[in-house]
Symmetry: C2
Subunit: 145 residues, 2 copies
DNA sequence: ATCAATGCAAAGATTTTGCATCTCG
DNA sequence: CGAGATGCAAAATCTTTGCATTGAT
């Protein structure tokens, strides 16, 4: 709901393709690549160009409505950024991405690093990788590692 | 020096291309993309295929001798991983990447997130972005933002 | 001598750009 | 209506793969 306000306020239009793309992201459990989003749109019967997906994601990312998630074993993925800050935990099996909150400890660390390196810290990216509860069950069931 | 031991121990060969690529990484202030590494090799007069750069980086990364650094405004970059854990701070102007140490605060955070999400955390990626001391000077000199 | 590593060429995949057309506001 | 957004096709990048040759151990 809120992304529409943000975009209108900044002079961007609420077009059909943009609405559909946001719907996909809102319904996503997992961080999606541009191609995956495009495929989901097709499956839903919406004929939206891959190019528009790229352009929309770029825009949404620059407005910080969407966050990029990096997964070493995968293509970059996009998820809604609800909090506005980039903390994600990603399942190494199903690639589900969840946000987590609480910047306290990190702020502390940032101050320490600023003191040690003389950098002026402006942003940060913290991602944890692991196995989500569901996948843990699967692994146990099948006796995988 | 040490990477040679690691590779030999694991049965990989110390070839000329690999030596040259490591030299570039060892001399780098900045996280380099495969293409950049390839270019530097050319400038130094070494005629090493881009393909080998890719393959070498993949190998080095899998052995954790090299770490991938993600920079939203740039292609993925590769840097030597001295500590073995993935904490980097990257300059948003010159893209220099430095490592920083100290996992204490993060471990704490990880435990909290494990408790909250029921994920089993296996790895993490923390990158800070900011402006390095040198670039801060430049910005001040020129009155940039 | 042997098997891994390289290099080339070619295929695949991903992302970007130009331009005419459409559409939201 | 008019600026902004879309879509297509095509180009530009980036990465991967197969295979013959070379080279490290």
């Amino acid at each position: 709901m809120d992304w529409k306000n943000t975009m209108t306020r900044l002079g961007y239009r609420i077009s059909e393709p943009r609405k559909k793309i946001m719907e996909v992201l809102e319904g996503a459990e997992v961080a999606l690549s541009p191609q995956q989003i495009h495929q989901q749109l097709e499956h839903k019967g919406f004929d939206i160009g891959l190019v528009s997906v790229y352009r929309t994601l770029d825009l949404l990312t620059s407005l910080e409505l969407v966050t990029v998630v990096y997964d070493p074993e995968r293509n970059p993925g996009y998820v809604l950024s609800s909090t506005g800050h980039h903390h994600h935990i990603i399942c190494q099996k199903c690639h589900k991405a969840m946000e987590f909150s609480g910047t306290d400890d990190i702020e502390e660390l940032i101050h320490r690093v600023e003191a040690e390196t003389s950098f002026q810290v402006r942003d940060h990216l913290l991602q944890l990788f692991g196995i989500c509860p569901e996948c843990l069950n699967t692994l146990n069931d099948r006796g995988d590692k």
